[in-house]
């Protein structure tokens, strides 16, 4: 959890009632006993507030994490006890659901499809959005504001307004049931966001740095590649993560554009698993845990980029 130090230090400045130093001293006129009673009541109140705070914190943790925990713990429960046993902890974990998932479904193929889509989306979004955002901040032309505003606007389209025409156009172009078509769709949802995030980043970067490089004999293109891009690494990482998330989690476009089992990405494959055999909960939960796992790993290592992107409105949901 890097990057939290500066956040929490600003947080601690905001003092809330009950946290500040005790400022009401008992008035000297009052008799000794009453003063002590007031003191102890204050202490009692403070303790109660503390207990209340920690109760709320624990409630938030349980609310946020328990469903995820329940998914994971159910996925390693022995399959014959899955429907009978609802104990919260047990040992040892049983991976029969996972082996069954791999043996009976195309899960690994679907996993690879998802990885391909995610990598393609990250790479192409990064390249295109870097050129667009850089051009929009450094080139002189009319309609810059319109360009950036239209990015935000595109980000708010109903997904079906893109998916319906894409399905029709891909039929015509021979991209039906093709991962190339799906890649185009994923780019359509990730690019507006990527441009928006990087635009904010490049805009904030002082122009002097490139100018210095150019004075030293670099062309503007070289300055962009050698100075601007390396300095924008945090922005590029944020864009990469959110492009990954959009592609990895996409259900709508994969549902509409992909038909055959071999081409499906994980979200659609998993959803159809439940429809096909209704009681395959063990496999379904194992599959769901495996979709979530890569996200958790990235989340732990890149927490601050998640927060940065999130507060810029990065992920629609």
């Amino acid at each position: 959890m890097t990057g939290n130090a500066e956040r929490s230090s600003t947080v601690s400045d905001t003092r809330f009632p009950g946290q500040g130093p005790i400022r009401h001293q008992p008035s000297p006129q009052r008799p000794e006993g009453a003063a002590r009673e007031g003191q102890s009541r204050k202490l009692f109140k403070k303790t109660a507030a503390k207990i209340g705070l920690y109760a709320a914190v624990i409630a938030i943790c349980v609310y946020s994490f328990f469903p995820i925990y329940w998914m994971m713990i159910s996925s390693v429960r022995p399959m014959e006890r899955l429907f009978l046993d609802s104990s919260l902890v047990f040992w040892p974990p049983d991976f029969a659901s996972y082996t069954s998932l791999f043996q009976q479904t195309n899960y690994l193929v679907n996993f690879m499809n998802s990885v391909l889509m995610a990598v393609g989306t990250i790479v192409v979004s990064l390249v295109l959005s870097a050129f667009i955002a850089y051009g929009a901040t450094r080139l002189r032309f009319r309609g810059k504001t319109t360009l950036v505003a239209s990015m935000l606007f595109a980000y708010m389209f109903p997904p079906l307004m893109l998916a319906i025409p894409m399905a029709a156009a891909f039929r015509w172009a021979g991209l039906t049931d093709s991962l190339w078509g799906l890649l185009i769709a994923h780019l359509a949802i990730s690019l507006p966001l990527a441009v928006w995030l990087l635009w904010g980043f490049f805009k904030a970067m002082p122009f002097d740095l490139e100018e210095a490089a150019m004075v030293d004999g670099c062309s503007q293109f070289e300055a962009f590649v050698k100075v601007v891009l390396p300095l924008s690494a945090p922005g590029l990482i944020t864009v990469g993560i959110f492009s990954f998330l959009l592609s990895w989690a996409d259900y709508v476009f994969a549902l509409i554009l992909i038909m055959s089992d071999q081409q499906k990405t994980l979200p659609v494959a998993l959803a159809s698993l439940l429809g096909a055999h209704d009681l395959r909960w063990g496999e379904v939960l194992a599959g769901a845990s495996l979709i979530a796992l890569p996200l958790f790993v990235i989340f732990i290592f890149c927490y601050r980029y998640f927060v940065a992107g999130l507060s810029a409105g990065a992920l629609k949901g």
């Binding site: 939290n4 929490s8 947080v11 905001t14 809330f16 009632p17 946290q19 500040g20 705070l53 914190v57 938030i60 946020s64 469903p67 995820i68 329940w70 998914m71 899955l82 609802s86 295109l128 959005s129 050129f131 667009i132 850089y134 051009g135 360009l147 708010m156 389209f157 109903p158 307004m161 319906i164 025409p165 894409m166 029709a168 780019l187 359509a188 507006p192 150019m214 062309s219 503007q220 293109f221 990895w248 989690a249 259900y251 509409i256 994980l266 998993l270 959803a271 439940l274 909960w281 769901a288 979709i291 979530a292 989340f299 927060v307 999130l310 507060s311 409105g313 992920l315 629609k316 949901g317």
Partner: protein
């Protein structure tokens, strides 16, 4: 300063690609809505506004609109109330604050599919955790997906669980912009926590909340995957919304023109509401800092 031709070329090229993959489908969607396309392979036939007329004469269209509005409004309300509440707690100092904050935004990054499957697993009327929990109190439960109220309630519940962290993160950022002196002054004047919240915290969060409610509103109204995964519009169209209706028309009834018309109308409604909203609550750029 001379503009580097490589930068210019790459910029224009990228813009063209972007325009083709976003602008292209948009234009094509509007075009499709004026045609009758009986299937994906058949010829297109110009029908003018017939798809639109048919769409708004369909009672299901208005029912879907009302359903979508109801689901979106209740989800947004709960997300904002819960989000502000959680943010206020997480803004206090306590042991393990940064870890708890991370845990609290975790659901936001889960794919919708995963959240829907977890909900279906917990709420399963035969094998779910809720069933066994309630059974130990001697209470039986029915299938949530068989009744309008519980089906809508489940959709709202899952939406709240998944997307409240967005509100939490934005409100937490907003809370840092409220000057501490205001609270000190209020305490000196004898204002309790409740009055401090109404007179300082809430007004201080106004600009954040205006944006958050707008974004959440747009995304909830456009929501397709969550509803389709949970109920497919059932029972008896009680959770059908405009996005699911557009999907049903296009891909189950193979009426591409009709589906495109529904999607276009719902987009126009959304754009109209957005304009009114921004008129009522103009976004104050000077206060908003990113």
């Amino acid at each position: 300063m001379a503009q580097d031709w490589r930068i210019v070329t790459l910029f224009i090229g990228s813009i063209l690609v972007l325009g083709a993959i976003i602008g292209g489908p948009l234009v094509y969607a509007i075009m499709l809505s004026f045609y009758s396309a009986k299937s994906f392979v058949g010829e297109l036939q110009w029908v003018g506004l017939a798809n639109y007329a048919k769409a708004i004469q369909d009672p299901l269209f208005w029912q879907s609109f009302a359903n979508g509005l109801m689901i979106a409004l209740s989800a947004i309300f709960l997300q904002v109330v819960l989000g502000v509440g959680i943010a206020l707690v997480l803004n206090r100092r306590f042991f393990g604050q940064s870890v708890v904050r991370a845990v609290s935004i975790l659901p936001y990054f889960l794919p919708t599919v995963v959240a829907c499957l977890i909900a279906q697993w917990i709420l399963d009327p035969n094998y779910g955790l809720l069933k066994s929990l309630l059974a130990s109190f001697g209470i039986g439960i029915a299938d949530w997906s068989s009744q309008a109220f519980t089906a809508r309630g489940t959709i709202v519940l899952v939406s709240v669980w998944l997307w409240t962290p967005f509100v939490v993160t934005c409100v937490l950022a907003g809370l840092q912009t409220i000057p501490t002196q205001l609270y000190e002054a209020a305490r000196v004047d004898g204002a309790g926590p409740w009055r401090q919240f109404w007179h300082i915290t809430l007004p201080g969060l106004r600009s954040v909340l205006v944006v958050v409610i707008l974004l959440r509103g747009i995304w909830m109204f456009n929501k397709f995957d969550l509803i389709w995964l949970l109920t497919k519009g059932g029972p008896l169209n009680q959770t059908e919304t405009l996005p699911t209706l557009a999907y049903r028309k296009s891909f189950l009834e193979f009426n591409l023109g009709g589906g495109a018309a529904v999607a276009t109308i719902s987009f126009l409604i959304l754009a109209g509401v957005m304009l009114i909203y921004l008129r009522l609550f103009p976004i104050d750029d000077t206060k908003q800092e990113r």
